[in-house]
């Protein structure tokens, strides 16, 4: 059963993809699917196999075993069909000497087979979308990282592909540029593009992705929305209650419930690992208040995303 992100037909689908470099298993049996219009975040530390699997999707690398399907076409058997539908932004952006931004984009537009007015219009639209119209005449070497990243996104968008593969687009960007990038990706997703985006920093992606997959040493360890992963990995949220002069009694009442475990009392504070949902949490509060206990505070803490990430990958990272 292939985990699918989003609803409807899958546009990106990896089927048991393996890629070996000698003894290194860069990608080791990865399967997942992403439905049209969804944004899937691909998270893992350096060397996890993100770039390799994205290059396989972009038809630049062949899987040692398995296949990847983009919009119904196999990257192994029909790479040209895949290429027409796919915009790829690699982690390193290639630039040319003696070329300005407009010429650079124009060249790729030509390479994608756009001609005449279609090309000029597309070029204008891409420059506007990426906010690079002001730097069109500037030489591409010597642009700031953020500007280069815009041009590279523009290049990937030149042929208006339905699928975007973005390899660590936010790496090395200042916060402002990162926010701009997030806006652009949001706009693209709203246009119905299917996006696969990678990062080694979970928080970078959490807000823009419908779902994330956590990859480590070539294996996909978990997939789902950020909340789903948190629920999967951490059944117990931590509840902390402050009960004025009634902590012991509160702890006793909580002990009668079966969704509260590991109850500890420290002065006015009661801590418990809690496995219920939000409704159950409200229930706990009502219980205590109805019993006449003076509950002054209640905080529920889910583990931070980084915690989840560390927990998910623990034991594999030395």
């Amino acid at each position: 059963m292939i985990p699918t992100v989003g609803e409807g037909e899958a546009v990106i689908e990896l089927r048991r993809v393996h890629r070996f470099f000698g003894k290194t298993r860069a990608v080791d049996d990865i399967s997942f699917a992403v439905a049209r219009g969804s944004v899937f975040g691909y998270i893992g530390p350096n060397g996890a196999g993100k770039t390799t699997s994205m290059r396989i999707l972009a038809t630049l690398e062949l899987p040692s075993y398995g296949d990847a399907i983009v919009d119904g076409f196999s990257v192994v058997n029909d790479p040209e069909m895949v290429r027409k539908r796919l915009g790829f932004m690699p982690d390193a952006f290639g630039t040319y000497a003696n070329v300005n931004c407009a010429e650079y984009l124009d060249f790729f537009a030509r390479s994608y087979g756009l001609v005449g007015r279609e090309r000029t219009q597309r070029l204008k639209r891409v420059l506007e979308f990426t906010g690079a119209a002001g730097i069109a005449e500037k030489p591409i070497r010597g642009l700031s990282k953020g500007m280069k990243q815009r041009i590279c996104l523009g290049r990937a968008l030149m042929h208006d592909p339905a699928v975007l593969i973005l390899d660590e687009p936010a790496a090395g960007l200042d916060p402002r540029a990162r926010i701009e990038l997030r806006k652009m990706i949001g706009a693209l997703a709203a246009e119905g593009k299917t996006i696969l985006i990678s990062s080694h920093i979970l928080t970078e992606l959490a807000e823009m992705c419908d779902a994330v997959g956590i990859i480590e040493q070539g294996r996909l360890l978990a997939t789902g929305s950020v909340e789903e992963i948190q629920r999967q990995r951490q059944q117990h949220r931590e509840l902390t209650l402050r009960v004025m002069h009634g902590a012991a009694e509160a702890a006793e009442r909580l002990g009668q419930r079966d969704d509260c475990l590991e109850i500890r009392v420290e002065g006015d504070w009661v801590r418990t690992a809690f496995s219920g949902d939000l409704a159950a949490q409200a229930d706990v509060l009502r219980d205590l208040v109805e019993a006449g206990l003076p509950v002054a505070e209640l905080t529920a803490r889910t583990k931070s995303l980084e915690d989840v990430f560390l927990q998910v990958t623990e034991g594999l990272v030395q």
Binding site: R55, A58, T59, L60, L62, S64, G72, F73, V76, N77, D78, P79, E80, M81, R83, K84, L86, F88, P90, A92, F93, G94, T95, Y96, A97, N98, V99, E103, F107, F108, R110, S111, Y112, G113, V115, G116, R119, R155, H159
Partner: protein, 533 residues
């Protein structure tokens, strides 16, 4: 009026640009802005003017009554050779190598550009630069003609030949840049490139200067044949190298073998044709045949090794494009990728060429009676060794492929190893047995191809070539029977979606062409009516 013309010109260039290779458009923009080009171009002009002034000053009074075109032209050739034979090929090599280095090749690969378009775009850009250098030097060349002493044929051959050699070097540069290599490999490629350029400068330079000073070029049949044959050679070899470079850049699931095999067939056919014309019509010396057989053997050894090193697994993508009919598949089977078909393909090409060579000797009016007896041993021995070593190489590659994925290039190394061992092992053994004193050839040295070939001329017993050929043929037959099982590959159906997509793309292209046409007609009509008003 001028505004209008300009506008039309603009529109026209725009439209032309759409049809040009995008790489050519980009590289031209880059070149015109690059310091390297500007410096080379200015230096070329400066050197040409400098030489003109110096040469005129040196031959001052005589220049009015003695034809002085020759030394002038030699100087201009030397000035032209630097950008043509050095700068342009190196720039093309660096330009493709840089695309690989900077990762821009990946960006190009995911566009609609085919690998062959990428390569030919680079070649075209080199050609454009050559043309600019030519144009810059044109007045000087015309000046030489005015000074008398050189005829048009010489000038034409000189310029054409320079362009031909420069093109070939550029193609080689692109080929070397496309070969898979790490950082260290790139340095090696650069060195190889420089050595080849050095050889070409010397060889062609010697030819060019000799031709200018001795005035080689009268329009005889032989001269024209030489030009045609050299053009055919350059064209077919360039095609092979360009296709070889392109398949290096193509996705690994692509059929990387069949286009190359076709190009090789064309090359061999063209060269055989030239040889036949030379032997039968021009009655060339029959002794050219033997070097040609050696050339064929060397070619098919390297190519054969590469093909023997191919993977035996046909990807579905390759099998889709197999001929549709059983007969078609049976005929095209030796063009289908794979080590077994590769072995048979290269051996049969070699044998076919040898047969053609012998046939030419029989037909040739000028070959002496013993010509065949003196050529056949070479052909048999070389064919035998080719079958022997390629068969062994194929077996070794089969073993290697059982354990790991390898590159066909490895097979060339394996062939080299096999051939070296086959030559050195019996030699060292015999040397040891003879207490390190000199000893004569014996049948123990049969696998020692180097010595056997050398001995062929000094009269080995006449059974040796047959022995070599026989043992080679035995191994070859064994190979084909044991491992070949020349099962016809099964064709697989192309998925409906792919067919539909292709049909749609064709329809769109046709529609676009129609729209273009009507637009162009509309534009002309509009212009005419405008002019009438």
């Amino acid at each position: 009026m001028t505004g209008r013309t300009m506008e039309r010109l603009d529109r026209w260039t725009e439209r032309m640009g759409d049809w040009l290779n995008p790489i050519l458009v980009k590289e031209t923009r880059q070149t015109l802005k690059s310091r390297q080009f500007i410096v080379t171009f200015s230096l070329l002009l400066l050197a040409a003017w400098g030489w003109t002034a110096a040469a005129i000053a040196m031959s001052m009074p005589r220049i009015y009554y003695v034809p002085s075109g020759q030394p002038m032209l030699v100087g201009y050739y030397l000035v032209l050779a630097v950008p043509m034979l050095l700068v342009v090929p190196l720039a093309a090599h660096r330009s493709l190598a840089a695309e690989v280095d900077d990762g821009t090749l990946d960006l190009l690969s995911v566009t609609n550009l085919s690998p062959l378009q990428i390569i030919t775009g680079k070649l075209a850009s080199g050609g454009l630069q050559m043309m600019l250098y030519f144009v810059a030097l044109m007045p000087c060349v015309a000046f030489c003609y005015v000074l008398r002493g050189v005829d048009l044929m010489t000038i034409g051959t000189l310029l054409g030949g320079t362009a031909e050699v420069a093109t070939l070097l550029t193609v080689v540069g692109l080929f070397l840049a496309a070969l898979p290599s790490g950082r260290g490999g790139q340095f090696v490629m650069m060195v190889v490139m420089l050595i080849l350029i050095g050889i070409a400068e010397f060889a062609f330079g010697g030819f060019a200067i000799g031709m200018i000073t001795q005035g080689g070029g009268e329009a005889s049949g032989e001269w024209i044949f030489g030009i045609v044959a050299s053009l055919l050679f350059t064209a077919t070899v360039s095609a092979i190298l360009l296709i070889a470079a392109a398949v290096q850049l193509a996705p690994p699931s692509e059929n990387r073998s069949t286009p190359l095999r076709r190009a090789l067939l064309v090359h061999q056919t063209a060269m055989t044709g030239c040889l036949a014309y030379a032997m039968l019509v021009l009655e060339a010396d029959w002794q050219v045949i033997v070097p040609c057989v050696y050339y064929a053997a060397a070619l098919w050894a390297v190519i054969g090794a590469l093909m023997v090193g191919e993977s035996g697994v046909l990807t579905p993508r390759v099998r889709r494009d197999l001929p549709g009919t059983f007969l078609g598949r049976a005929l095209a089977v030796w063009l289908t990728p794979g080590p077994g078909t590769g072995l048979v393909f290269s051996v049969s090409c070699m044998l076919l060429f040898s047969l053609a060579a012998i046939g030419l000797l029989i037909l040739s009016p000028s070959a002496p009676g013993d010509a065949i007896d003196r050529t056949l041993p070479h052909a048999l021995t070389l064919g035998g060794y080719l079958m022997l070593f390629l068969s062994v190489t194929r077996w070794i590659m089969q073993l290697i492929r059982l354990r790991s994925v390898t590159h066909p290039g490895v097979a060339v190394a394996v062939l080299g190893l096999v051939a070296s061992v086959a030559a050195i092992a019996p030699y060292s053994a015999a040397l040891h047995l003879h207490d390190y004193r000199s000893f004569p050839w014996s049948h123990w040295q049969l696998t020692n191809w180097a010595w056997t070939i050398v001995e062929l001329e000094s009269g080995l017993s006449s059974d040796v070539p047959y022995l070599v050929f026989g043992s080679g043929a035995t191994l070859f037959a064994l190979n084909v029977v044991l491992l070949g099982r020349a099962v016809l590959p099964q064709r697989v159906a192309t998925p409906e979606r792919v067919l539909a997509e292709r049909a749609a793309a064709e329809r769109a292209a046709a529609e676009r062409a129609a729209a273009e046409k009507s637009l162009a007609e509309g534009a002309t009509v509009g212009f005419d009516s405008g002019a009438m008003r």
